[in-house]
Subunit: 318 residues, 2 copies
């Protein structure tokens, strides 16, 4: 089967449904983020779970990113195999199979990992020892997202100490990502959530520092909040990733002035074909649940003013 | 990368997240549907969009299925290339690229298609002529699902006539699928929806018959309603497909007696690993939006009484 679209085709020549990138918008997003980050003096380590593409990762690194984030070891394997040498698996990795693979990657690259439980210290350390590598480890703290992470403060200190106490692990800093804040619509509420996260993170950095544990990396942030973490004076690395394509849900966020969040442009689209017109007001397109996820609501029709998606099934959108 | 699971592994040996099949339950579902269908005298043409696997299609055909349904030409191509010779694309196919591919498949196999608009007659006919094949065509009628299809009755008659009027197309019958009825919880309401669909379909079959157009195939039905269409005396082919794995949402349907719909067994699971335990009441697993769709609600934890999924992000389930 040939791909449904190639560079330079006119829209009508594309076989549908097809996932297409507006390369101009995509490149403007890459450049804009690079410029915004440069101003702040903080580093960018974009999250690659948005694209899972080593080619795009290299585009980001060429524009100044210090490396990339992956969410899984399998993704890190693809990145390292394709020449990306500085990766953070911004997640817990559990079990000897995955940890052995993570350690193996550290022979030729730096692939860091997060940790949020004392039990994992010996498990990660064993994998690192088995491959004779040192794994840089970030202690993940819970800063409001309600997902993984130890409590900021004493719990984080205890875990950081446990990491420094074993061979083959290096305590590299904190992972302090507030995921659920990314899509808070109101700018003031979003800022309040991040202000709280920054405070918890700053206190933990200070506590660790007072105990002789320096945080080389303090990482977090996403496309919805990166400017807040960047100006915090606490975070050293930002993990924003969605900015390259700018998903529809981020467009529902409000910016500081109350207007829509338009810092980046939509660059990734599903090109769908109309397969049925049951009546004048209704079109059935060939993109359904198997073409578009609905966890953030139905897809938004692009440049079809007044139209909306009202229902989807496996291969149909209505 | 090696696959996360192989036949015969113990659960703890599986790398997570992994999509695993309970082969015993799967085979019992295959056998049970074959037996139920045999009783009715109606044919089974299972929908393969559930599995997209030629191997499973052959398992179904060996047990008496007359062929299979696909939802897209690209799926039919994979089936035909792997020896499945009787396929219905149970959907509209639009545009010269896809129609040419559909016609090409008919050189070595029978790949039927649905139609719901007069404009498509000449388009499909042109593709068939180009490949010197005859394409069997089902007129799709709208029987309550609110998606594709012409109105039952006169509109269907006009379209069927248009199909018979052109070369290289053969009018093969009706597609009368009531998709949205499949997951109506209450058995009586579900039956009422199908009774209405059956009535519209029967009237259209009679109208066509009175005008010299015989419906060799009257197709429709899904796992939620197939027994209703089977006993209607109108439908000749059933397109149920989900029964092989029995998804969680079908388990929310009620059977005739008011009890749960237990005709088939759950056979497809996502095996997830716990990656974090923020507290006693909460576990974070490594299966999120990228492992499980949420268009029918959150996944159901299997054999973990009292637990439920309360939130998901890309690679996390909480």
């Amino acid at each position: 089967m040939s791909p449904p679209a190639e560079n330079g085709l006119a829209l009508v020549e594309i076989d549908t449904p097809a996932l297409i990138v507006d390369l101009d918008a995509f490149e403007r997003n890459l450049d804009k983020m690079a410029a915004l980050i440069k101003e702040t003096g903080v580093k960018l380590r974009p999250h690659s779970k948005t694209h899972k593409s080593p080619w795009i990762a290299h585009q980001q690194i060429e524009r100044g990113a210090v490396g990339i984030c992956c969410q899984k070891v399998s993704e890190a394997e693809v990145m390292v195999a394709n020449g990306v040498k500085d990766v953070l698996v911004s997640n817990q990795v559990v079990g000897p199979i995955k940890l052995s693979r993570l350690a193996a990657l550290n022979v030729d690259a730096q692939v860091m990992v997060c940790i949020d439980h004392a039990d994992a210290v010996s498990e990660i350390s064993a994998a690192a020892t088995g491959h004779d590598v040192v794994i840089d480890t970030l202690v993940e703290i819970e800063v409001g997202g309600g997902r993984c992470g130890v409590e900021p403060g004493e719990q984080a200190l205890a875990l950081a100490r446990a990491v420094t106490d074993v061979q083959h692990l290096n305590f590299a800093g904190l992972q302090a990502y507030h995921g659920s804040a990314q899509h808070i619509r109101d700018h003031r509420e979003r800022q309040a959530a991040i202000t709280a996260a920054v405070r918890m993170t700053a206190e933990t950095v200070e506590l660790l520092d007072a105990n002789g544990l320096r945080c080389e990396i303090v990482g977090g942030a996403g496309t919805g909040t990166f400017e807040m973490e960047a100006s915090s004076g606490v975070y050293t690395e930002l993990q924003a990733g969605s900015y390259i394509f700018m998903d529809a849900d981020y467009a529902r966020n409000q910016s500081e002035g109350g207007g829509p969040f338009e810092t980046f442009e939509h660059a990734l689209f599903i090109c769908a074909g109309v397969m049925s017109r049951p009546n004048e007001d209704k079109a059935v397109v060939d993109a359904g649940h198997k073409a578009a996820s609905v966890d953030s609501g139905f897809p938004l029709p692009w440049s079809l003013a007044g139209s909306e998606i009202t229902g989807m099934s496996d291969e149909h959108g209505v």
